[in-house]
């Protein structure tokens, strides 16, 4: 048993999926925390996105965070490639299918559709990068007017880029659809990751599963409210 055998066997590939998946879940928490700073505007309109812009500035200018960004990209890359490989390999294991499908007799539709949900999330991710990550890192599209932060630094005005981006209904709807896909993906993925890592204790599994269901609802909901809040004028 060498290392490559351990991580390329049928179980090994799943271990890679679960470890990268849990890492991406931890990223979601950070991403959500930073972005939730936009809600300051809801309680204090005079903030005008300052709190969020300061948080975004910190994330963009801190060396450790920038190094973690590389790890994050590696995590995304491995999770996506491995997921697609597994999906196609698993499908190839039954060349001739059934006339009558089992359907929902015994499993949930979203558990069986992780490949599809993941592909929707990948497409959403590409659009999301185009909207925010690429302008902030490279093109400065929509960020031509820097903003003076309350801590004295001059930074990209990500808050108003969000506001401008979410002024169109189709973008708001696509983002909400992305969040719904994320919710279903997490609904299966959260508990499945722990199963794959060997959590068989029923007491602990129930705890993890309950937490996972809550996480899968709350996190995508907070994300989905962001484009909606801008569009409805609740903030910004």
């Amino acid at each position: 048993m060498n290392w490559s055998q351990l991580f390329t066997s049928s179980i090994g590939k799943k271990i890679v999926m679960s470890v990268t998946g849990l890492f991406l879940i931890s990223f979601l928490v950070v991403h959500m925390g930073v972005n939730a700073c936009i809600y300051k505007d809801f309680f204090d309109p005079s903030d005008n996105g300052d709190m969020f812009n300061r948080a975004a500035d910190y994330m963009g200018k801190t060396v450790v965070i920038r190094l973690m960004e590389i790890v994050l990209f590696a995590g995304f890359f491995i999770h996506i490639i491995q997921g697609l490989v597994l999906e196609f390999q698993n499908r190839s294991k039954r060349k001739l299918g059934y006339q009558v499908q089992m359907g929902n007799k015994g499993s949930k539709w979203y558990s069986r559709s992780m490949g599809l949900l993941g592909t929707i999330l990948l497409l959403f991710l590409l659009l999301h990068w185009w909207h925010f990550w690429i302008p902030s890192r490279f093109t400065e599209r929509g960020l031509e007017n820097p903003v003076l932060l309350s801590n004295g630094r001059v930074s990209h005005d990500m808050f108003h880029l969000m506001k401008a981006t979410f002024s169109e209904w189709w973008i708001v709807i696509v983002y909400i659809a992305g969040c719904i896909s994320l919710a279903w993906h997490l609904m299966h993925g959260f508990q499945s990751a722990f199963r794959t890592l060997g959590l068989h204790n029923d007491r602990f599994f129930k705890l993890v599963n309950a937490f996972g269901i809550g996480f899968s609802v709350v996190v995508p909901l907070i994300f989905a409210l962001m484009p909606l809040s801008f569009k409805m004028g609740w903030i910004g």
Partner: protein, 254 residues
């Protein structure tokens, strides 16, 4: 439940051998007693086909008591038919209504080649067992059972896993054709007992390696296997196998 006779339409997979392509053929069966088992209904049909000079439908069966794991039919989109925790031989015709159409297919998986009609080759399971599903015992008298204390909960969990009859319904139900429920039951059965502990790590690694070699897919924890298992083997065992495999992979010295 009152006894009655029913008429049914069967759409059954017919395939000459593993090389040829198969197709569905329709058979009408009449006056089937609701007290009959599903296999007895097939016996009645085959008797008639033989009488008519036609070839009977080939299907696997042995004990007809629900304990051997030989019968294997995918009935109306579910391995072993509509009843929970039931093998095909224990499925009775009272599960169906007069006039029903029943679609009967063989287990479908690349690792389970169709031999003929509804019979599939499940020798892949035997080879997985040969790879590690055993304990090595030195010759001599059997050790007195009571001299080896086993925690009650572990004994119960081991026994529950040992109930697996290796029918292959888990593979048939899984969208990935994964054999993980079967392998995990066999690994759990021995891993929880002191007799199984000397070979615990190599067993998990070798059985998974053989499972992969046979062409079964990866487990994605959908739970379809657990839902159709005639012996109600829990999906918890799969998590336990994952742990056994990971621990063995990380701790073995070579």
């Amino acid at each position: 439940m009152t006894h009655k006779n029913i008429n049914l339409k069967l759409k059954v997979w017919k395939q000459k051998n593993s090389k040829s392509a198969g197709n569905f053929e329709t058979f009408v069966v009449k006056d089937i007693s609701t007290e009959m088992s599903f296999l007895e209904m097939f016996d009645v049909l085959n008797e008639r086909l033989i009488g008519e000079g036609k070839e009977p439908i080939a299907f696997d069966h042995d004990c007809r008591e629900g304990i051997c794991g030989t019968c294997s039919m995918y009935i109306n989109g579910r391995p072993h038919g509509p009843w929970h925790a039931t093998t095909t031989c224990q499925l009775h015709m009272r599960a169906f209504n007069d006039g029903d159409t029943i679609v009967v297919e063989p287990w479908r998986a690349n690792a389970f080649q169709v031999i003929k009609d509804l019979m599939v080759d499940r020798s892949a399971f035997d080879r997985i067992i040969q790879a590690g599903g055993f304990i090595s015992v030195n010759t001599g008298n059997a050790v007195d059972a009571n001299s080896m204390p086993v925690e009650k909960d572990k004994a119960d969990a081991s026994f529950a896993a040992a109930a697996c009859i290796g029918c292959g319904a888990c593979v048939a139900a899984c969208k990935n054709s994964s054999a993980m429920l079967f392998v995990s039951a066999k690994v759990t059965h021995l891993a929880l007992l002191p007799q199984g502990s000397p070979e615990r790590r190599t067993r998990a690694l070798n059985m998974v390696a053989q499972m992969d070699k046979e062409g079964f897919g990866s487990c994605t924890n959908t739970g379809a296997c657990e839902a159709v298992c005639p012996k109600e083997i829990s999906i918890e065992n799969i998590a336990r196998l994952n742990k056994e495999y990971l621990m063995a992979g990380l701790t073995l010295e070579k």
